[in-house]
Symmetry: C2
């Protein structure tokens, strides 16, 4: 299933043997930094999958000590010198650019600020968890105020051109700006609501049948192996909150959660994480240097996870191949269920209160609500104490419904409690990029649907190798879009895609 794209003259980098000394020296430094940070990544993965409960406190200290040690090396004069040498030798070199960005982000925050943020996040997380359980926003309020204060300071330390929000959003999606994102969400609001109005009464009764865990795990592994996830360079384990971790070179780990009476949880969760995982694995498979072997941001990463999960994984042609196999593994749960019934139920869409349970169609509106509120808070237009009221007003604006209480409203997400402002829009950027890429890929691969019907993913992966993976983070998400589509980030392909999938009732 693997495809190797040779490092051609149009690649973004030269192999070690042809690269300059300045390249090789920087690559070696970054390689060691990544080898060390692999131990920290592993400690994080293990904390969420294997660590015995009493080991939590010590693991927290280990992660803190590793972080401080890594910070020293990310801000060392030697690193600075190696980057400068490459900047001098090869102006605008993408390897130097990425390293410089990392160095600058690490050096701009004084260690006092880093420590204050870590403390506020830790306390904020605890208070948020308590507030959510008690459905009582005021428990979280003082922590949110503190986190906002520190995050605003952080934005000032990083610097920005037009508005403070951009400094933080840029951490997750380089070069993306609130002024570009706002119209994107606006352009999604009307068509999404129009499509939601068209949806039939939701019926997911098949998916709620009894799907035994052993079969779910076996089927999930079979699907992602065939899609291209390499289990010789990765793992799949269980956890409460699924994630994908690039633990080290040739070591990419997915996690998932099995619900015996809700098939989509593990099934689409596993495909989603495998989308992240195949992206990470590609850097090693294609031999990228350590200086380039990362995704440029969360939007690009989500374009892969949400692309494989939704664009591919919920499509009818995909299930033409897989549904007979699902029937073999689960003869009872699939009894009397046609392929059409199944495909219809995995594509159920409706207005709902909770983002993490939302379907593909309504998902972006949840982010629209959050983006407007965090932008207003960051720029000083909304006080933390007024957030619950603003949340409900926003929800009404985007969905036409109001949450019954804060637990199902403003308190539902973890992000703000750990000081992550500017993160939310990357989910929708992922959907936008995925739809833009799929339109081009379908032109390049006119037999796209037939490939899915045959369970053949190698040509699709090869397309991503060529256009995305082999470049690592040599370009930003926006630059990738420009290179691939010949135009700017554009919401129209996503709208067309959603109309195609959800407009045919």
């Amino acid at each position: 299933m693997t495809t190797t794209v040779p490092a051609s003259s149009s690649a973004s980098w030269l192999p070690d043997a042809e690269a300059t000394d300045a390249h090789r020296a920087l690559r070696e430094y970054v390689r060691e930094l990544r080898d060390l940070s692999s131990a920290a990544s592993l400690a994080g993965w293990d904390q969420q999958t294997k660590l015995p409960p009493k080991g939590q406190a010590a693991r927290g200290r280990t992660l803190g000590a590793m972080s401080a040690m890594l910070h020293e090396r990310r801000t060392s004069p030697e690193f600075d010198r190696l980057i400068s040498a490459l900047e001098d030798a090869a102006p605008n070199d993408p390897e130097a650019r990425g390293a410089r960005r990392g160095f600058d982000l690490s050096t701009k925050l004084p260690s006092d600020h880093v420590r204050a943020m870590a403390e506020a996040s830790s306390a904020g997380y605890g208070a948020w968890d308590q507030a959510r359980n008690a459905d009582e926003f005021t428990i979280f309020l003082p922590h949110l105020e503190r986190l906002l204060e520190l995050s605003r300071e952080q934005a000032e330390l990083y610097g920005y051109e037009s508005e403070r929000y951009d400094a933080l959003h840029d951490l997750y999606e380089e070069g993306s700006r609130a002024a570009d994102i706002a119209p994107m969400f606006e352009a999604l609001r009307e068509p999404t609501n129009r499509l939601l109005d068209l949806q039939p009464e939701p019926d997911t009764s098949i998916l709620e049948r009894s799907w035994h865990k052993e079969g779910q795990e076996r089927f999930g592994r079979e699907v992602i192996t065939r899609m291209g996830f390499d289990f010789d360079a990765g793992r799949l384990d269980e956890t409460v909150h699924p994630f994908c971790s690039g633990v080290g070179q040739f070591d990419t780990r997915l996690t998932t959660r099995y619900e015996e009476h809700w098939l989509p949880c593990a099934l689409f969760g596993t495909i989603h994480e495998a989308g992240h995982g195949m992206y990470e694995q590609a850097f090693d498979r294609l031999g990228l240097p350590a200086t380039l072997g990362s995704a440029p941001g969360l939007g690009m990463h989500e374009s892969q996870s949400r692309g494989f999960e939704n664009v591919i994984g919920r499509s009818r042609p995909f299930w033409e191949f897989w549904y007979p196999r699902l029937q073999e593994v689960f003869p009872e749960a699939t009894a009397g269920v046609s392929l059409d019934d199944f495909v219809r139920q995995i594509n159920t869409a409706k207005r709902s209160l909770v983002r993490v349970e939302a379907d593909e169609l309504s998902y972006n509106l949840h982010l629209g609500v959050r983006f407007e509120l965090e932008r207003a808070m960051m720029n000083g237009d909304l006080a933390a104490k007024d957030l619950p009221e603003a949340w409900n007003a926003g929800f009404d604006k985007w969905f036409g419904i109001t949450p019954p209480s804060d637990k199902f409203g403003v308190l539902q997400d973890v992000h703000w409690s750990s000081g992550s402002f500017g993160y939310f829009p990357t989910y929708t950027l992922g959907n936008v990029y995925a739809a833009q890429f799929a339109e081009v890929a379908r032109l390049d691969l006119p037999n796209w649907d037939d490939l899915l019907r045959a369970g053949e993913y190698a040509p699709i992966l090869a397309w991503f190798d060529e256009h995305v993976y082999r470049h690592g983070d040599a370009f930003t998400g926006r630059e990738f879009v420009q290179r691939i589509t010949g135009g700017p980030v554009d919401v129209a392909p996503l709208v067309r895609y959603l109309e195609d999938r959800f407009g045919q009732h």
Copy 2:
């Protein structure tokens, strides 16, 4: 099942609140060092249990980079200063003593030597593996010569009083000397051979029946949980070569290997590793400072693993409690097998060629062979090229039999291939200590056998808490023996124990 021994005035250390500033500062430094080295330990554990195959090379680099980073901190001027401060404030303090020993061992080897040794070990391991598979000693010979040369240099760098061997053996067992060990092995040779002559024709047919893996795992977990291994502060996983790893505070991990047609492999392997594990867990459970919370050497560690595996785990009273439960889990494999049959088969003893498959009785003789040879090689009395002949002569001296080929002789063990000379005697020291401790513990706990019959291990663990665990590495193995028995290291209790267990045929 847990027992807490308060830090009484007779303990080897004071709690933080009552300790001096010099103690607290040193403890904090060592705590952070251990928190960081926890990430390296985890990476090692993961390498042998979870790591995807293609990730091996990068993991090797990660371990190397972590090791170099930790070496810097183990040899830092700051560490030296903190130790000196405590040495000045509290002469002969055991916390300063342990830290000074670690600092000295780390600083005495120049980094060139460390690198040369790492390279020779890595190449040596590969060559040994190849040589063993081909049953061809000459493949390994040049590597062994190089490893001997470097190890002799290492001994000179560390320094010693009477013979070179001692400098290396001291790494594994502080204060123990070849001149003390030689008579210990000699004293075991005659009684062991006499007892071996008494043994009936071996019959292990019951143990070779079909023991399903799931049952073995369930039963093993039940046994060690009841013995006192805390699964909230530890794990049990599968691996090829079983081990116990103290990954971090409240995080002790055991591994085992299941053989469906050889029950003792996982059963006694799991109990053995749990013996190591309960020792490690005790330091955290009893709240020892980081400066003391380790075993003082391999002999003490083996006294626990071999003590729980053999002295307790192969005794008849132990199986009076557990055999009915084993029958429940394995009704077919135990059909028609009496308790006496079972106990007899798990205590089968015979002369054999391979150490790792040897029984409790003959085990020490295997170490006797190795000790004499490595001592002679280290001290310059035996050349590497003459080793196979010397091995066969030695085996004849100790067992009266000769291996058919080097694969079942000189090439069977991994230790020398990684430059570990001076390690082997610690297995027998573990047996000697375990027998000495058991004699005293049985006097203190006259109902010892009844406790085992009732499956009650808490009083036994409490005895070890009081006499061993709560002192960490404040004393050496030899000092522990002196404190507990009132006398020196003595092979007589082990001989009495072996006569009791193997002399009644």
